[in-house]
Symmetry: C2
Subunit: 218 residues, 2 copies
DNA sequence: TCGCTATCTTGACGACGTCAAGATTGATTT
DNA sequence: AAATCAATCTTGACGTCGTCAAGATAGCGA
């Protein structure tokens, strides 16, 4: 069933993704999927769980590979992996971060999302040289009120997720005339991620005083 | 008609947004909207045009206000305005940057999108101290092959758009327990945007040599 | 007065998500 | 071996959706 659903997603995208089409592809009646996933939201949540796990796996593999490479940078590796995973399965990515209503109460889904975010937290701390203290994410419910690196973590996620979203949703197509996709990929991997890491490296001395009121704006 | 559509969007969100509901709200028959906008895509494109213009207006106003304030920073102002606009009308923002198929051939829409991006380009150059050279966006079709600040521009957009998207789509809700929305807003406005601007300020000396191969990864 | 155009209504079509009710199947129990 | 039960799927139906073709209604210049 899920195999059929992913096939539909890959072929027709999220727009052409319907329960009936998935059922057709799987060779069952239109109402069959509902018995397994409850409703459309249930099926989407199941796929989104796969999406988070795929993201986590890709980031872990990339980080590990970077570790064993001369001059390899784990942070850069997971940023690249994030974009690459999304571009590889855009439909799945849109289910995870789309607006098609998922069931956040589903335990498996929450676990998968937490794992992906945990990797981001760990690697950001690593890049900052803050070897992991208490794992605030392991607490239930997870608490980040006292997380000192939260700004850096969200900064990393924002850059990566922002560029990925813009590429996936074809918002950058207008500035990609000829072989522009590869050019944009190179721009991201070589420059944006570099700026991001440089920003993280210059971040530490700023904390916490400088970051408290760095702008005279507002 | 558009008024009714925006009301539906504000009240029921993009999920409950249907042509028939808009027609009902406007007090006309279900097929009436099609005569004005062609189809659902046409209506969404019209709303997305308003969305881009709203974004542009908000950024312009915020930048101008920042200019007339002691220690005001235009870049910070437009970043805040971007997020604020999205949070004010999340449905509209999702239409603009969502996955519901828009008509990019529509001239008015292209113009609105170009204007918003142009503001981003101008302000990024301003922040970098590169007072605007040739306006590559004014060319048809717009070309950015030779835009030296493209990396910085996309970096700014990625951070802003990424955080905005994550907030809008409630991806950050799990780390907002009590009054967390305001805390996240403050985190963005005071820290993320500050990191972004600090990154831009340290960017110039890096260009272009350092940015060409800043990482030994890949 | 006669068209012409813009605007809206009506009715229909196929596709969708969802539900209730019944059928089928395979394993467990007696 | 026969009976039972839970899981799984089918069938048929309902309401809603986007879209289209055809007809109705108005306003207005010639």
């Amino acid at each position: 069933m899920i195999t059929a659903a992913e096939a539909v997603l890959a072929e027709k995208g999220l727009a052409g993704f319907t329960l009936r089409e998935c059922a057709r592809r799987a060779g069952v009646s239109p109402a069959a999927p509902a018995h397994h996933f409850g409703n459309l939201t249930g099926l989407l949540t199941a796929i989104a769980t796969l999406g988070f796990d795929g993201l986590s796996d890709a980031m872990e593999v990339a980080a590990e590979a970077a570790s064993h490479r001369a001059n390899g940078n784990r942070m850069a590796a997971i940023c690249d992996a994030y974009l690459a995973t999304a571009l590889d399965k855009p439909g799945r990515f849109r289910v995870v971060f789309g607006q098609m209503g998922l069931n956040w109460e589903e335990p498996a889904f929450k676990r998968a999302a937490g794992r992906a975010f945990g990797i981001l937290v760990r690697e950001t701390r690593h890049e900052l040289g803050h070897e992991s203290g208490e794992d605030l994410l392991a607490r239930h419910p997870p608490s980040f009120a006292g997380e000192p690196d939260l700004a850096a973590i969200l900064f990393v996620w924002s850059v990566t997720h922002g560029f990925t979203t813009l590429m996936i949703d074809a918002q950058l197509d207008f500035l990609a005339e000829e072989g522009g996709r590869e050019a944009l990929l190179a721009l991201y991997s070589r420059q944006l991620v570099a700026i991001l890491i440089a920003a993280l490296r210059t971040l530490d001395p700023l904390q916490p005083e400088a970051l408290a009121k760095p702008r005279g704006d507002g």
